[in-house]
């Protein structure tokens, strides 16, 4: 990679919630009083491609859903550029997991992309031709403008993922949360997504990406969050993405769970 390696930021600067793109403090999320995320503290600077990495069940999706207020927090606070999610909602985009929607739904690729604009269009107003034009441009940028009028069930998995990416692009926000955009896509789609992510970064946007493939982490992301119910490590990828930290994240699952349940027993 030829991109300039950012100098490690002094800790005091990272932890200043005003300058951080995302600042999380003491976040705990539990399902039926079982913790999924435990006491998460994070502070991530602007204009980074952030990979959120960890084993299955580590709470990666839960983390971004909690940031987006899609799940109730047991405790803790999340700030985006120093303000609460609700205040900053219009500058935050979301790319859900592909399997989270019904792809047999009777809508076209273009209609799905246009959904990214619904927040801007507002209640009681309909999708105008200029919105459709924006949506078409977004589809063009991810290379599937020719499929705009296809019903979404007739797209391949990779094409469906590109539709979601185009929707995020049309939404044009400053921060993105993406839930496994690289899951089960073809090589061409993977390239298209990473190109788009790099473009986002060059525009100063910050992307949080749940990622599974350890082989590509250091190639794709300049910031890595290693997560296994707690934050194992968060920082510039070349510092954090080490064998030792990975074995802590993936190998130490049992010990962390034990620690957490002990702590729960003490607090309750």
């Amino acid at each position: 990679m030829t991109a300039a390696v950012p100098a490690p930021l002094p800790k005091s600067k990272i932890l200043n919630p005003q300058s951080a793109a995302l600042h999380i403090q003491d976040l705990t999320v539990a399902y039926h009083s079982k913790p999924v995320l435990w006491d998460v503290d994070l502070s991530i600077p602007e204009a980074k491609l952030v990979g959120i990495v960890g084993p299955n069940g580590a709470g990666k999706s839960t983390l971004i859903k909690a940031c987006l207020n899609l799940l109730p927090k047991t405790s803790g606070a999340v700030q985006v550029f120093g303000k609460s999610y609700e205040e900053q909602r219009s500058m935050i985009g979301y790319v859900p997991q592909r399997e989270s929607v019904d792809w047999d739904f009777p809508v076209s690729a273009l209609e799905v992309v246009a959904m990214g604009l619904y927040g801007k269009i507002g209640w009681f107003r309909s999708v105008k031709s200029r919105h459709k034009k924006l949506a078409k441009e977004a589809l063009d940028r991810v290379g599937i403008a020719d499929l705009a009028d296809r019903q979404i069930s007739q797209l391949s998995g990779g094409q469906q993922q590109r539709v979601f990416l185009a929707r995020a692009l049309a939404q044009d926000t400053r921060v993105y949360f993406m839930d496994e955009p690289f899951a089960a896509v073809d090589a061409a789609t993977e390239r298209a997504i990473i190109e788009l992510l790099k473009e986002f970064k060059s525009l100063g946007k910050t992307c949080f990406v749940v990622h599974h493939d350890l082989a590509t982490v250091s190639q794709y992301f300049d910031w890595t969050v290693l997560l296994n119910m707690r934050i194992v490590k968060s920082g510039p990828t070349e510092e954090v993405f080490t064998r030792e930290n990975l074995s802590k994240t993936y190998g130490g699952k049992l010990t962390i769970l034990e620690e957490a349940s002990n702590a729960l027993r003490i607090t309750h």
């Binding site: 859903k65 987006l68 207020n69 899609l70 909602r89 219009s90 935050i92 985009g93 979301y94 859900p96 989270s100 929607v101 019904d102 739904f105 009777p106 809508v107 076209s108 209609e111 799905v112 959904m115 990214g116 619904y118 927040g119 269009i121 209640w123 009681f124 309909s126 999708v127 019903q151 929707r167």
Partner: protein, 308 residues
């Protein structure tokens, strides 16, 4: 076969009823919550009975208010029970709507000792009797009259189309991707309860004509048929209305004709409309261009031949 003015009104009322149901029905089918229609159509019964007992009249407005309240409560209760009672959504719906339905039946049986409100009519409806209850009104010096049920159902149809028309994109996004809708500041829960309210008032309007059981067929079957045949949400709604009208026409005609082939008297039109809706679904399922039975068979045999 003899055809009277009365038969025309029966077909029109049946078609209006099925069409009014089909529009919210499309969203029930797409949100994979068709059984919520079942639940609400049963659960509104106590709302009807209580409204009737309080006001002492079958006036439509109080009935609609009663039904809308209970319809939304059904949706709320079943969500609470599945959320806090740790039972799945199907079971919680089963608990809520059967209890409410039974309560409604008890209330109606009690009330019917004093006033005219028939339990069997609530269950099966009386489509054949609706043309006898006429509304008269004058407009520009001309006087009109039409069956009350047809007038009420027309209003409900117009209301349903208007609500979907106003909130079309909110309905679309909160049915397709509720999480995204929430991050865009579109309250999916609000749309959910709006849909539940629509289903509740539509069910009440349909009660008299077709009863609380056939109405489920009208909510679900034309919408499911249209779902098989279309790739666009607006077209799906139009096609579902088309199938509703077709089922009403075919249903009433076959209610008169089919039993006569066996030397019997004509049968219930509302039931026959539901049967015809089912037949149309079957035909669509066999011949659907993309997911149809025949098409799948041909694709399979083609690839089989290729493999050989």
């Amino acid at each position: 076969m003899e055809w009277y003015n009365l038969d025309t009104w029966i077909v029109i009322t049946g078609a209006l009823c099925a069409s009014a149901c089909a529009i919210p029905g499309c969203f029930l089918v797409l949100r994979q919550m068709s059984m919520m229609g079942d639940a609400i159509s049963h659960a509104v019964l106590p709302g009807l009975a209580i409204a009737f007992m309080i006001t002492g009249s079958r006036s439509s407005l109080s009935m609609f208010v009663g039904a809308a309240v209970v319809g939304v409560l059904t949706a709320l209760f079943s969500q609470w029970i599945s959320q806090f009672g740790k039972v799945d959504r199907g079971a919680s719906m089963g608990i809520v709507f059967t209890s409410l339905f039974a309560l409604g039946l008890i209330l109606i049986v009690q009330a019917s000792n004093h006033v005219e409100l028939d339990a069997s009519c609530v269950l099966y409806g009386a489509l054949e009797l609706t043309p006898l209850d006429l509304w008269h009104w004058e407009f520009l010096g001309l006087s009109f009259k039409a069956p009350r049920a047809a007038c009420v159902l027309t209003m409900i149809l117009v209301i349903n189309i208007t609500v979907i028309g106003i909130f079309y994109k909110e309905f679309k996004i909160s049915s397709f991707d509720p999480a995204l809708a929430k991050t865009l500041g579109i309250h999916s829960g609000l749309i959910h309860y709006l849909l539940m309210t629509m289903v509740a008032i539509t069910t009440v309007a349909a009660f008299e004509a077709v009863g609380s059981i056939i109405v489920i067929a009208m909510l679900v079957v034309p919408a499911a048929t249209a779902y098989l045949l279309t790739e666009n949400l607006v077209i799906m709604m139009f096609v579902s209305v088309f199938f509703s009208i077709a089922a009403a026409i075919l249903g009433h005609i076959s209610a008169i004709l089919v039993p006569s082939w066996f030397g019997l008297n004509s049968t219930s039109s509302s039931a026959m409309i539901a049967v015809m809706a089912g037949c149309l679904f079957l035909i669509a399922w066999i011949f659907a261009p993309k997911q149809g039975l025949l098409q799948n068979y041909f694709i399979k045999s083609k690839s089989h031949n290729k493999a050989r």
